[in-house]
């Protein structure tokens, strides 16, 4: 159960094309990442809605293929 950093970035970029993305590998095991996503797509949305956009970008992989993802969203 793991996901390459590049795959994670590509999935988010595909769903939020204009996003600025910063990913940190927290444990070096392709399973624990933190991700900061900056985009105007988040404007006017609650934190929950913003995070759901990021989770939806990962589709069913979240919680299955990817165990731990720390999410921070920034609306521009």
């Amino acid at each position: 159960m793991s996901m390459k950093l590049t795959e994670l970035e590509a999935l988010v970029k595909k769903a939020i094309p204009n996003a600025e993305i910063e990913i940190k590998d927290l444990a070096g095991d392709d399973n624990h990442y933190s991700i900061v996503v900056k985009s105007d797509t988040f404007r006017g949305k609650s934190r929950i809605e913003q995070h759901q956009i990021v989770y939806d970008a990962l589709a069913e992989k979240m919680g299955n293929k990817l165990h731990a993802l720390q999410v921070k969203t920034i609306s521009t």
Binding site: I48, H51, G63, L69
Partner: protein, 109 residues
């Protein structure tokens, strides 16, 4: 569980002011994110009821569908979904969580 899972979840969420769906129990959390939220709630001195999703796969999956939120833990305050560990921590760090609780009439430290 014979009762419809969504009805059961709705009842739990409405049962007390603050409800935490988590992995493990407050005394022995089984996941770092769940543990973080427990520590924040304890720090604020809030009484809460918790549900260990590890005890029943139907709860573990049901809660994710219930809120269209793919991860555990999940925090509810006065039946409103607040978020997972990231959002609860962010709100706590920006002092929004304490304000939110007090607005809802929940006493904190």
């Amino acid at each position: 569980m014979d009762e419809n899972i969504n009805d059961w979840i709705s009842k739990q969420i409405a049962s007390t002011d603050v409800v935490l769906f988590m992995k493990g129990t407050p005394e022995s959390p089984q996941c770092g994110f769940s543990s973080q939220v427990v520590q924040i709630l304890n720090y604020l001195g809030i009484e809460f009821s918790s549900i260990n999703v590890l005890e029943d796969e139907e709860i573990r999956n049901g809660i994710k569908e219930y809120t269209n939120w793919p991860t555990i833990p999940q925090l509810y305050i006065k039946s409103e979904f607040i978020g997972g560990a990231d959002i609860v921590r962010e709100m706590f760090e920006e002092n929004e969580l304490k304000e939110f609780l007090e607005e809802k009439g929940i006493v904190t430290n």
